[in-house]
Symmetry: C2
Subunit: 139 residues, 2 copies
């Protein structure tokens, strides 16, 4: 049996620091905001952050939100047989909070379109902008 946190153990110091920071955040964080937060831990240049982010995205630990140039930890864990489907994000333009969701019907329709059009999809970005329930209520 693999150790329970094998995925984490594969991470380097910088990657762990960035991931931990993102997991503790309540909303997406930009690369430069991460840099500032991690200066006490020795970070000094953007590349240290960007390199860690690239790796974490590749490993599936975090997502990049393309429409706001920010990053957030993946909503679910990384247990053994975890199916990594197409993820969607609902971004509140008022409070900044983001909800991650998965919808197999959407995933299926995208696959269908790709198949019909000979497109080989490698990754996807689905991002909604608007107001979350809390902000609609307090509007």
């Amino acid at each position: 049996m693999a150790s329970p946190d094998q995925a984490d153990k594969a991470l380097t110091r910088n990657q762990s620091l960035v991931l931990t920071e993102l997991q503790g955040a309540r909303a997406p964080v930009t690369a430069y905001a991460l840099l500032d937060k991690l200066r006490p831990q020795g970070f000094r240049a953007p590349l240290q952050v960007y390199r860690a982010l690239d790796r974490l995205v590749a490993l599936g630990h975090i997502h990049k939100l393309e429409s706001i140039n920010a990053f957030m930890a993946c909503a679910h864990g990384h247990g053994e047989g975890h199916h990594h489907g197409v993820a969607g994000f609902a971004i509140c333009d008022d409070c900044g909070q983001v909800s991650e969701f998965a919808d197999s019907a959407i995933e299926h329709r995208l696959e269908e379109w790709a198949k019909c059009n000979g497109f080989h999809a490698k990754k996807s970005a689905i991002e909604l902008h608007g107001q979350c329930a809390a902000c609609v209520g307090s509007a």
Copy 2:
């Protein structure tokens, strides 16, 4: 009856120049690439481009591709009763060409999710990355 090109007539000179440039392009164009192309027409600063782009996006004439920071003309025209649904984009990472598509099932699923979660969506971005049919063939 409105004149056939009423929408176009509402555009200012700068907006028309930017829109025409995008309509003539075979792939998305970045703001700074537009600036360079329009220097002969008198453009000198990024804001001239960004202001025109903002307006054109708001009017539904063009789309911003969030994952590549580039813009493209809307695939369909702007006739009278044109339903502007949720648009998706398949971006070829090899040749740069983009296919715009619309899928009412996806739109419906997104609306459904929003309703169930009290999220008021104002806009959406759906972008696929991979290889288009032509590039897969010539790989």
